[in-house]
Amino acid sequence: MATKGPMQDPSVDPVIDPMIDPRTGEYAVIAPGHNFKSVTQKIAGIVLTSNTPLGWFFGLIVAAGVTMGLVIGCTWLFLKGVGIWGVTIPGAWGFAIINFVWWIGIGHAGTLISAILLLFKQTWRNSINRFAEAMTIFAVVCAGTFPLIHVGRPWLAYWLFPYPNTMNVWPQFRSPLAWDVFAVSTYASISIIFWYIGMIPDFGTLRDRATMPAAKYFYGMLSLGWRGSTRHWIRYESASLLLAGLSTPLVLSVHTVISFDFAVAALAGWHTTIFPPYFVAGAVYSGFAMVLTLAIPIRKFYHMEDLVTLRHLDNMAKVMLATGSIVAYGYGMEVFMAWYSASHWEFFMMWNRMFGPMGWAYWILILTNIAIPLTTLWSRKLRVNVTFLFILSLIVNTGMWFERFVIVVTSLYREYLPSSWGTYRATKWDYMIYVGTMGLFTFLFFLFVRFLPMIPMSEIRMMLPQTKVTPGGANAETISQEES
């Protein structure tokens, strides 16, 4: 991946920035000068320090405060029922489904980074996969909340699972909603086990470096007695690869199944065959945006610029550009098929979506999801501009939320019969619960960066130049001196 620009020719522009490789002009994946010890110290230090930064406490308290919105909203919901929400007939699917699809989509980038990029041997993923996976799990937690609380009687949500009961009632497996239960619960389980398996060697490191007895005990238990035996490593690598191979079709299937919730319905704007790939691409798009939203402040706050480099941000921006283009194609195809199919209902749905009472949502979506990102991300200067990327990631996350809003609401509130038209208006409880899940997500993330290794140390070590095994066992450092 050669890049253009003045950095490419070191004779014209002698390397000022140590992060730029003079031979390729690309940003390094790890800053030069790191060794096994410094990498370990840097990452383990965040977890094992007895000096928690004040900013962390501040952030945790703010996040906990926002989470109270979820607690209060859910309490009132359980007392009063879903009538406190804006859902009504015909807009029977409101914020609950919008937020569910949005959150689960955000999770997808984590699995993509940890699984698909591992299979493709993209080593740059190593610095960002751990917190991307954490993001996946916390996003699935937030996503899972919505189906559970929107079933009407949430204390009976376990009826969705096939279990022997005295009533002899069983789930209906022809329904996409039953498929959802299987897809999302599998996704959550596999993500958690993949995440935990990935952390076992790092827990071993933390156990060995911890000084406080409580930390030694905690990480010692979590590490299961990991000692870095070569036979263990080979089985471990084999299991990681298998999990990656299994997660890859899983991540594609989860959002496909979720798109079936819509696509199986006979409603204009919902039953389109483009939904599965278009939903998956949108999920990856919003997921990478969320990784950037999280990675940029974290690398700044914890001074991780030499491990999460501009190269990572650049690559993630490129993935966003690609998936955003697929999403743009999806929008184009929806409009095209509304015209080309010559279906009166489809045509009206599209017209109503664009110029009806909720047309503003459609144009916000086009602006934030397509117009701004897909024009700016082509520029390399902007792709490595950290402030710009952070703002853009927030814009894309908003855009993807609007995409789900437009799909759910504008198809539903004006369907076939004009006599049954209505409208949809979210209430303050809708907003409170939605914002509350953002608080929950942030709260869990704050706990994660404090107590778990947020960058996989064992995988970062593999990328260092010292890992070179030389015949006869000569010292790697002397070899590199001879070479130069």
């Binding site: 010890k37 897809a183 299961l224 299994l246 095994v469 010292n475």
Partner: protein
């Protein structure tokens, strides 16, 4: 299990993976078989030097996946055909295309758990006590930046003085005895 008495093995510490791999190759050539390398990250060449290639993790994973697909598909068929038959717009009770999706998800669920738990079980984990942790330098470096080779006392070729002399010919930082 009561702790065994005596020496578990001799543990040599190296600074680079190259030195470790070289020593392991030499040890294998000298006839040692019961040995193990300990590294802070996976070193494939060390596994080659130990002549350890095959793992049964993929087989466990495959069996788990087959179990998952069978369980889910049979369960769905039993539920929707016999246990709780529902006539939904005249669709067949045995709607196998619809059953494939949950069956597919459970294939992945069972296969993933088999791969992960199978790896842990085949590795003999969790095992919070292991003799190598007794070595004073092991916990300082084995999971950070040092490379260890342990020749175990159960090896028929093992003799404390000869094995120590063998290990000391390499540029090892130290060679220490590990007790049970």
């Amino acid at each position: 299990m009561p702790p065994r008495e005596g020496i578990y093995g001799l543990l040599a510490e190296f600074n680079t993976p190259g030195e470790l791999v070289h020593a392991t190759e030499e040890a294998h050539r000298a006839g040692y078989r019961r040995m193990e390398c300990y590294t802070p990250y996976p070193v494939e060449q060390a596994a080659e030097a130990l002549h350890f290639h095959q793992t049964r993790v993929p087989l466990v994973c495959l069996l788990g996946g087959l179990m998952g697909v069978t369980t889910a598909f049979l369960m769905e068929t039993w539920i929707n055909v016999w246990a709780y038959p529902l006539n939904i717009a005249g669709r067949p009770l045995f709607s196998w295309p619809a059953f494939i999706i949950p069956a597919y998800e459970w294939t992945i669920l069972f296969a993933g758990f088999s791969a992960a738990l199978g790896m842990i079980a085949l590795n003999g984990l969790p095992q919070l006590y292991h003799p190598v942790f007794n070595a004073p330098n092991f916990r300082n470096g084995a999971t950070t930046d040092k490379f260890f080779l342990c020749l175990e006392a159960v090896d028929p070729k093992f003799s404390l003085s000869e094995t120590r002399a063998f290990l000391e010919q390499f540029p090892a930082v130290s060679v220490v005895e590990v007790d049970h």
